[in-house]
Structures are given as C-alpha cells and as structure tokens.
Symmetry: C2
Subunit: 623 residues, 2 copies
Amino acid sequence: MALTDSPASPTAFRAGHSVAAVTDAAAVVERPLGLDAVAITGGFWHERQEANRAASIPDGLRQLHEAGNLRNFEIAAGRATGEAVGPVFADSDVYKWLEAAAWEYARHPDEELLARQLEITELVAAAQEEDGYLDTVVRLREGERYRDPARNHEHYCAGHLFQAAVAQSRCTGRDDLLRVAVRLADHLVRTFGPGLRDDVDGHPVVEMGLVELYRQTGEASYLALAEHFVAARGAHVLERWGGNPTYLSDRVPVREARSVEGHAVRAVYLAAGAADVATERADAGLLAALARQYAAMAESKQYLTGGLGARWEGEAFGDPYELPADRAYAETCAAIGGVQWAWRMLLATGEARYADQIERMLFNGFLPGVSLRGAEYFYVNPLQLRHDAHADDDRSPAHGRRGWFDCACCPPNIMRTLSSLAAYVATTAEGVLRIHQFVEGVVRVGEAEIAVETRYPWHGSVRVRVVRAGAEPVRLAVRVPAWAEGASLDGRPVPAGAYAAPERELRAGDTVVLELPLVPRLARPHPRVDAVRGCVALERGPLVYALEAPDQPDGVVVDDLRIDTRAALADRVEEGLLGGIATIVAEGVDSGTGARVPLTAIPYFAWANRGPREMRVWIPEAS
Amino acid sequence: MALTDSPASPTAFRAGHSVAAVTDAAAVVERPLGLDAVAITGGFWHERQEANRAASIPDGLRQLHEAGNLRNFEIAAGRATGEAVGPVFADSDVYKWLEAAAWEYARHPDEELLARQLEITELVAAAQEEDGYLDTVVRLREGERYRDPARNHEHYCAGHLFQAAVAQSRCTGRDDLLRVAVRLADHLVRTFGPGLRDDVDGHPVVEMGLVELYRQTGEASYLALAEHFVAARGAHVLERWGGNPTYLSDRVPVREARSVEGHAVRAVYLAAGAADVATERADAGLLAALARQYAAMAESKQYLTGGLGARWEGEAFGDPYELPADRAYAETCAAIGGVQWAWRMLLATGEARYADQIERMLFNGFLPGVSLRGAEYFYVNPLQLRHDAHADDDRSPAHGRRGWFDCACCPPNIMRTLSSLAAYVATTAEGVLRIHQFVEGVVRVGEAEIAVETRYPWHGSVRVRVVRAGAEPVRLAVRVPAWAEGASLDGRPVPAGAYAAPERELRAGDTVVLELPLVPRLARPHPRVDAVRGCVALERGPLVYALEAPDQPDGVVVDDLRIDTRAALADRVEEGLLGGIATIVAEGVDSGTGARVPLTAIPYFAWANRGPREMRVWIPEAS
C-alpha cells in the first residue's frame, strides 16, 4: 500500500492510541480506550511505570548496544562490518524497545527519548532491503531468506516490527517506522499465502502484528495474510523443516484445539493473533474455539500467579494439572502474551473473567519479572526457590534477577507492557465506560473526564469522580473482581466476578465509591495438582503472596515451615518495606524443630529484591 | 603397549570375567566374581536375560544397521560412501552392543552371535586411523579431531570401546577389539595429560574404560590418564569450549564435591570412574569424597525407584529434594551408571547399603527401561503418567516404550547390563563368599560350587546349597536388605541392612535358608519432597509398586484415587499377569465420586506393557 511521504503524515485509517485498536467493523463488545484517553497518574502502577521510564528503558538501550543487536543493523545497513551476533531473533528485541519508547512518548513525552527512537528507526530503515525484506541476522548469518521457517523467526521479527511501527504511529504521530513496516508487510503479502509460499513461521506474533498494521493502515491484505497464517497453522506444516508440531503450535488447527500446548509464548501469541482475526472477521466459530482453549488453560495449565508454562524443557505448557512450583517456567513473556490474549477476549466478549485474568497476570505473572528498581529481570518465575538451590543457567532464579539475558526477549517485552499499561484499563461498551483495572488516574471519553482515586492494591477503596461531563451523563460500570466477595458500590453490596453499575447517571462532580474487601485469604489448589497437594497459598486482593526467607524468624528454613490454617490471618501495610507493601502474618510451625513461629508473607511480585533467597508461594499445612 | 598378534592370545594381566575387575593392588574389601564364577540359571533375572538374548540383542543389531551407526564405520573404513548420520556419539551405541554381545557369549555361548561380534569388530578395526584415533562421526562430519571436547564425545566413544574390548577379551578370549582399544588408548596417552593437551571430554566414561583397560592389559599409563582426567575435571576446563560447568560435571573437582549435580549420566559415570581410580590408587581421600557424594545423592536426589535425574532440561539432577513424579527424568542410562558406581563403592567398602542400592536400582530404576518382551524401551522413567498426558517427544512416556530413539544410548546400555548381570551377584572378602543379589543360580569359587535356589522377588526364601566344597569349608555371608525387618537365617533372626553369616561352616550338601519377609509395606516421602507430599507408595521386598489404569475398577481415573492407609494391604502372586507377578491390593477411595474402591498395584517395572496408560507410584492418602 502507499503512504504519504511526510514523516508526520496521518494515515488514512488511523486508530486510537490503543492496544488492539479494533476497527469499527470488528465484532467486539468492548472498544478500547488508548493512551490518548487513559492516564495513570499515581499509585502502584505509576511507580512501576516511572521505574520503567527511569531505569528499564534507558538501560535497555545500553544493553541493546552492548549485546550487539543494534550493531547487527549497522552491519546490514553497510555502516559497519563484522558478523551478526546474538540469537536469530535478535532484531525483535530492538523492535520491542522501539515499541516501548513509542508508548512511553504518549505517556510521558520526552523529546530526548523520541530522538533516540527516531535514530534507531532510521537505522532500521537503512537496513531494509530493496524489496522490503528485513532481518539482519538471517541476512548476515544465514544468507538465504526463509531457509528454515521453523527456526529462523523472520515473521516473528516482522510481527514485532509491525507492533512497534503501529505504536510509533499511534503515539508519536510519526510514520517513519510505519513505512518500513508497510514495505515489509507488502513483501510478506507478495511472498506468502494461498498460491504463494505456504509456510508459517515457527514463532507466532506476526498475526497480531499484521492485524494491528491493518487497523493502522486500512490495508486489507494484511488482515487476509494474518487470517491465512492462523488458518494454515496446525497441519504439521513445519514438520517439513524438522519442527516439532506440539512445540510450534502446529499439531492441531486453532479452530479445533481444545487446550493450549507446547511452547507457552508461541501458543498464547498465536491465540491472541487468532483473536484479532476472529474479531476483525466477526468469526464466531474461531472466537468460540479460543474461548474454549482459554478456559482449559485457566482450569488446568495456569499457575495461581497467572504464570503460563510448567516446563523448562521446551519452555512449554505441561500436561493438565502439571504445575510444579519449583520448576515452574512461567516465562515473563508468556504472562505478557497471556495478557494480550485475555485483553482481546475481553474486547470480544465483555466478560469480567478476562479482566480478572489480566489483573492476576499483571500483578503476579508479569510483574515479578522485573525488580522494584526496574533494570533487573527474571526470565522464569517459579513459585518456589528451595534451600540450597543451585543456579546452572542464566535464567535460573537462584541467580536472582539479571540485567540482561543471552536470550533477551523478556526485558524489552516488560518495557513495552509497562509503558502501554494504561491501554488495558478501560473500554467503552455501547456508551458505558467500563473500568477494568484499578489505577490512580484520569479517563477521558467524549467530552467527559473521570478521575479515579485509589491506593489499590494496598487499600480497597476506588473513588471514581466525574470531573467533567458532556451533554450526556456518564454511564459507568466497574469490575468487581471474582475474589471480591463482600464488595460494595456506594454502600450497596455488589456481586463478585461481574461489572457493577451505579444506580444513577453521573454528572460532573458526582463520585462513586467501590469498596473491595482486601482481607487476607487462603487459596487451595485443585486436587489434581500433585505438586502442591496439602498446601495453601495466601492472597490479598489481586495479589498472590509468598514466604521469603528474610521475613521469617532467624534460623528457620522456609522449606520446613508449615501453616496453621485454623489460625487467623493478619495484614498490615508496611510503608518502609520493599517500597511500601502490605504483608500478611499467619501462624505456623517450624517442622524442623516443632516450634510455633509467625509466618510473614510478602506479595510474590516483590520477592528477590533482597537477593535470591528461599521463597515459596504454596505453604504446606500443619497436620 | 604391545599385544601379541594371535587373535586369541591371552594378555599378560588378564582379569576374570568381572565388571570392575580390580587388580591385586587395589584397595578393596570385596573382590568381584565374574561370569566365569556366577551363572544365573533360572528365575526372575534369567527370564529377563533370555528376553535380552532372544529379542533385545538381535533387534539392537538390526536397529544399528537401520539407524546408520554401522554404516558410519563402513564409510570411515572406505567401504561405502556418504555422510555420517546420527548424533555425534553414534559410535558408542555400536560399542555398547559389542559389549553386550561379549558378556552374552560368556553367559550363553552362541557362535553365531560371536561371528556377528567379530564381523563388527573387524569393521571397527578397519575404520581406525593409522595413529589409533577412532571416531567415525567426528572424522566424517566435523573433520577436525578434538575440535569441541565439550560436545563431540570422542573420549566418551573411546571409553565405551574400551569397555567393549575388555568384555570381549574377558569373555570370548579374543583380543581383536582389545587391539583396537589399545591403539586408541595409546593415542590418547600420547595426546592428553600433563604437559600435553589438557582437555577433558564433555561426557565422562573414558575414566572407567581406561581403568578397566589397565586391569586387562597391565598398562599403567591408562590408569595414569584416567587419574588425570578425574583430577583435571571440575576446574571449568570446558568453559573455554562454551560448556556449562554444572551440566558437564566440571564445576567442582570430584575430590571437593559434596553432592551430585548436572547431567545425571555424566555425573554418575564420572563418579564410577573416579571410584575405579580411587581403588586402584588406594586413594582414601578420593573414596571418602565419593562416599559423601553418594550419600547426598541417596538422601536428596534419588527417587524411590532408585531413578536418578529430576529434570528433563539438561537430563539433570535437580536441587535437593526436587523429585517430581510426573516429570522425573530418571534416564535408564543414569540408573545403569548408578549401579556401576554403587558396585565400585561396594567393592571398595563392603557396605551392604551399596548392594541395597544396586538391588533398588536394578529392579525399579533400570528394569522399567525395557519391556517384558525385550525390544521396546523407555528412555525416561517417571513415577506418574497423568490422565490426558500428551507425547511431544520421542522420549515421552506417553508414547509408551519405543523400539529405538534418535538418541539411542539407553537400549544397548540395557543390553550390556542384562548380559553382565551375574557379575553383580557375589564377591569374596577375605575367604568369605558374599552373596549380594538373590538369583537362582550357581556360584563357583575355588573348588567349591554353591547353588542358590529362590523364586525371589515373588517369594522370600533363598536356599543356598553347597554342592561341592574344596578342602576348606565354605564360609558364607548373605545380604539382608535394609527393608527386610524380620528376616531369618536358618530360623535365627538376623538384622536388616547388613550381611548375615550362618553360625557354622558349610560342607558339601549343607544348606542355608534365608527367609525374607515379603510383606507389602508403605513408603513415605521425606518431608522436603514437595512433589509427593501427602502421598505414600507401596513396596514389597525389593520392588516399588504402581497403580496402573488397567488394574483399577472401570471408569475411575487413576489421578483421582486415594489410598486408605489405615486399611490392611493384601498381596497375591498372579502367575497369569504380566508374565507372573505379585500384586498388592489396598483399599481406596475414588475422590471423584467418593466411592470406596479396591486399588490394585503392580510392580513398577512392569508398567506400560499394556500400552501407555495412566500410572502412579505415589498415591495420595485419603483424608
């Protein structure tokens, strides 16, 4: 397709500053509000976003220089000489960083960061080949294009480029990267699909990328190609390249699959892309298949933390109910993909359970992947670190969080998620503003401006105040999480696991107060989960808790602690601990000595900020 | 060193038909009796050996032809053209088959099998290079020798060649393969060691091979090189090749290690080779280090089945007490390496616990690796197969046993272990015949001949009858396994976990009867083993039991069964089931329906002989 030449020209079909900016034709219940409509201005997630801005993003750029990802582009652009370094998908980390920088510009316009973004964009453009093909590592190292679709990640890199370009176009008004993306997408359209080359890529993400690019540009061939990639997959098409069908999400067609399997990130990225296709095509059958798969995953293949992927071997989902705490893989990227999938399912269905899922995954599956400071990362997120655990891999949690990885997919993925987080907060559904996630911030919809005031997740009050209304009164609905039994809206009890609406229309100056009961509670595992039989976990609000060694009495070994589940649980907000958290105190027994001891639990996301120490989420019950 | 030229010439220093044929100078308590002294003539292990002879070994030869391992030698010998196929260590599978065939010849002299063995030996010799170097895959595929010691397995292949050559020399009287081995060993001696190339191989086994070759030939430089390889390891020497120190047993020197870690087969092969060095060098410090490591492994890194290796990722030992049932790796080769290590520790120390370990690993860690028929194998041996388990790998137990593997290390390893099994039965210690394993068979020592009659492990009587005595009466001791509380010898109670001797000297015609109480019993896991908390396992005699779906009431899901541990356990020998076994029947509850149901357990080794069906060793207790 053709774009105008001006760097800042608007595209014909420009979407809002949203994630999954569904078109008017899409079959969705909810329409997303993007970063042009929602701002997180304080509180919990604002702190995390500020750490992302101040530490993660700048440090990430340094790491991309040091690891050689950017140099690969310089070599491909003819500006340097040498061999490509890093994994075959090294380009994608640059694109994820560019995407983070783009969202960040909408959140916190920083011309310096924009300049860096545009410099790198110019470098990426310079590395692109005449016909639009772009992959520095494959070009420099492998020579031949699409020589091994099962392993070479060329579409995967393209997909991340598309997402970055769309974010840049949406949030900075610059189409520099979008032009690169369009040239590459046009090349893909000329190369792959029915009657052309019939391969799919070993690692999905291009599906989401193509649909977002379609949404940004209006170019229907991008949506068609995404639809083709989703439909073609599952027929063992990668076996010709020696690819393992299960690992590559290529054993069963998306439309027929009953659960998720294989490499967790691949599986959820594919599902999210398929959900994009299903909504834009109004394909109810495909959407129903995805809903079924999501439910099976949530039932039997997801950790309490929302973490996805039970196996290190193949970074994969396990069998149903195979959910070991100690060897949980729960890759940070898989939680991010899970959020992306759940977000698209939420838009499509309006069902509160998907917003519950997003909350669970953000707080407990995603956030543990980054330190409180912001520039140290976990690749895997187990629910236990044992006594005498040994680190034998750069991903080992026993190392503690690390500044970067040989395979550095997670850190820039965290950055782009944090900088775009406001896009997951609210939607509109037939004139109703629906608030899905509780953040301190501002929502603008039409002429109305709504302020949300809350100290969530430490305190359970969420005040929604209409600062300005338009001609029409504001119609509002807020999510009452499934865990929030006993919640009230303006003093009136409201059912958990659904959206609650005030009984009145809201005008300027009106305030609605949602009260969520943040009391500590016990979670018990499904009886089929062998790995944590006889254990309970502690939760409070949206947070999963963990016992970490530094908070326990001196001399005890966390692995020997048992919890007395008949005793009461106490909680306390501790401003001075780990940046300010609420702790839970339970009564327990040291099974080594038999002594009764207090057990102090911290939010799981905050573990390993005092070095890698013994930790466990699931605590055996005292007998 | 020089060997005589005649194919059948005896070597100067010929050892008995033993495994780990320690020299007179070795610091050992026990001296092994080999296949020239011990014959298994009936009963349990004889049946397994007959299946090995009739099915495994001939089928293995066919598989080695089909998979191309033998063709690699033909190409290297200039008798065929083409490229090498299979993993870089493909030669080793040929050597293990040759070793199996050699031991088998001592057990059951079959001239046809000897002819095949000598044909392949001739082919191997033809593929050897002028200076003694021999590795077909590295030569044909990699070109350069020792280009990547961390990965290329050249010493590993050599070690297996040495073991095969020693077995052939010991059991057939032919030195054909020994000549090849000596040329290769001399090349290694000229190439590696102090003042020469200071690498070690990524996969230990050459240490055991070199010491056995020293024992067979008397060539001291082989022992010296083995000693060097053991001493050099553990200083991150393979990091220069990008090798992971933990995975490769290269993080901590053997003499300093406190436990086992990394790739399980590598770790136990290294330990077994180090034990060979320790005994031949009378190195008490090294032996003490190995005893400490063995104890740590048995305490915290070994499954109830004796299985070794908790992780698929890296085929590795986990952290202490990380012992998942479902994702147990417990590679068949690791159990074999465990037996080899325990055997050497038994010779060195005479401690009954090592013979207990051998029994546990043989029956429960090793034997599940092969079908009752004999030509289908498990590479990994988990203690649970879940409902709805999915096979995503040729090693997946959900496939059931398979005829061969892409990485086919286990099948020929099973063959050589079964054919040499009689070598692990008995030893002499200062004139006392010690019987460690209970088999129907004959033991000849000096002028004496002893017959052992037993239907173990189904029945607990072991009758030891002196068929013929020499001038001196026979002095005897029999192992009383640690599980055998209540055992008696000639009606006299004897303590479990030790050796028991009759109170009299034995002369021709005398009989001693050991009675072992084969009553079903419950095993409980260590409280640190999270994976099976709240579960018990069933054992009877040396056997670990499992619930397998075909034996449970129709319609129940094994994962939902619970055991009532207050109810009595019953056992019954069932001649018609799975080739004749004893079952255990317990009372249980179907937690799905709440109904009380009988639970019928079979010996774990016999599982998956009726297809891959749901199975579990550890059974949750009914609450």
